[in-house]
Amino acid sequence: MESAIRQQLIALLPRLRRFAYGLTGNQDDADDLVQAACEKALSRLHQWQPDTRLDSWMFRIIQTIHIDQLRARKVRGESVDPVEADKIPSPNGAQAAESQHTLELVRRAMDQLPEDQRLVLVMICIDGQSYQEAATTLEVPVGTVMSRLARARRRVHELVHGSKDSPT
């Protein structure tokens, strides 16, 4: 059973990395998070029931570790890594660069969202979970998930278009 689970975990890695990237906004931090989650899952395999979904279990572990890290950071008074302005390529007219620029603005907008809004965006828009799945994992009513999600999406829109339209 154990080697089968390792295979399944490997197959899940791209999704887990994307999920963690959405949460952290930084690919190195995302990989650290995924690594910590895999270590935790494999050392606690006895807690996982074979008839439940491995992906849901992994997402919950990733979220738990992420939330613990945010709390620890808060206690230590560290700020969340800001996205540096010079990382954002300026538009040069080419369509590819333009869309790269937009996506960088999206990532920066995500970084400015409150954690609860960011989380529902990651779960639903990035990982494709249903409202119900997100509500169950977060232990909040579906209505709460929806209102956070609506606010988050409006905010992303404002931040992306606001920056785009303003002169640089």
């Binding site: 791209p14 990395r17 994307r18 494999l42 050392s43 006895h46 919950r60 828009c125 990035i126 409202y131």
Partner: protein, 280 residues
């Protein structure tokens, strides 16, 4: 006509409405430019967010993650802990409590389980007390397992009574104050609906049946781990540490050191005769 609210438009954008509602909203949208703009915002933002973070799907997974998955070992099971202790434990056991801590710590080292240290401290609070859901006096399968199976070996049998299975691993054999043979064992009982992990001690009666003295459900090996317990799982002790309080029971029952594997072999062969052990 009622105005389309944000929540409805959001659910429409995400395909969360049933087909009847979808059609209804689609019809209403044709006459509502403001709602169409809101919908566009919801659709576009979702697409942008998805695209902004999809890089990990288009690149190879870093080696370090593959390495972690291939090399992380599960925490030692109870059996591993016990057997390591039995092997190491030819020296006379020390006083309870102290020996419990020392044994757990040293065994943790033996099996390379550094996390045993960090988590051991909280074991006492996580421990849910002795429960005795299965103190049956006439448990044929348990008797059969303990009568015939060497410590560390698995007795795995289908249980017709529950249409499930029972997996029993004897862990440690010793004699109590009444010179009865007693064995500590680990058991997983699986039925169609539940899985239950427990640790118990049973002692042998004159007629060859083994009667459980005490059984502890292993709370931390829950059948399912509901999401609300995930946060709590940060504090779950390393496997094995949660049975440490159980050692006190064994310490109290046991007169001397555990019976060695060689002596145990002889007992199994000769049907648990007291004089099988020369210097008992």
């Amino acid at each position: 006509m009622t105005k389309l609210d944000d929540e409805t438009l959001l659910a429409f954008a995400d395909g969360e409405l049933d087909s009847q509602q979808m059609e209804l909203v689609a019809t209403q949208l044709t006459n509502d430019p403001e709602a169409r703009e809101t919908l566009r915002i919801f659709q576009e933002s979702a697409a942008l967010v998805k695209d902004a973070f999809d890089q990990p799907l288009h690149e190879p997974v870093p080696d370090r993650l593959l390495q972690t998955i291939n090399e992380t070992e599960p925490d030692a099971s109870v059996s591993d802990m016990r057997l390591a202790r039995q092997k190491a434990g030819t020296a006379k056991r020390q006083k309870p409590v102290f020996s419990t801590l020392a044994a757990a710590a040293s065994v943790a080292l033996v099996v390379g389980l550094a996390s045993g240290y960090a988590t051991f401290r909280v074991a006492a609070t996580a421990y849910d007390g002795y429960t005795s859901p299965l103190l049956m006096t006439n448990d044929g399968l348990l008797s059969q397992a303990l009568e015939t199976t060497a410590s560390g070996s698995l007795f795995d049998v289908q249980d017709a009574a529950t249409a499930g299975s029972r997996q029993i691993t004897p862990l440690l054999t010793f004699q109590d104050q009444n010179r009865r043979f007693c064995r500590e064992y680990e058991e997983t009982i699986t039925t169609q609906s539940i899985r239950r992990d427990l640790v118990g001690v049973a002692c042998r009666a004159g007629d060859g049946s083994w009667i459980p003295e005490t059984v502890m459900a292993r709370k931390l090996v829950a059948a399912t781990l509901p999401s609300e317990n995930i946060a709590a799982s940060v504090y779950v002790p390393a496997a094995g540490a949660d049975i440490a309080p159980f050692d006190l029971v064994i310490d109290a029952m046991m007169t001397d050191e555990p019976i060695s594997p060689t002596e145990e072999q002889q007992l199994l062969r000769e049907g648990w005769k007291v004089d099988s052990i020369p210097d008992a």
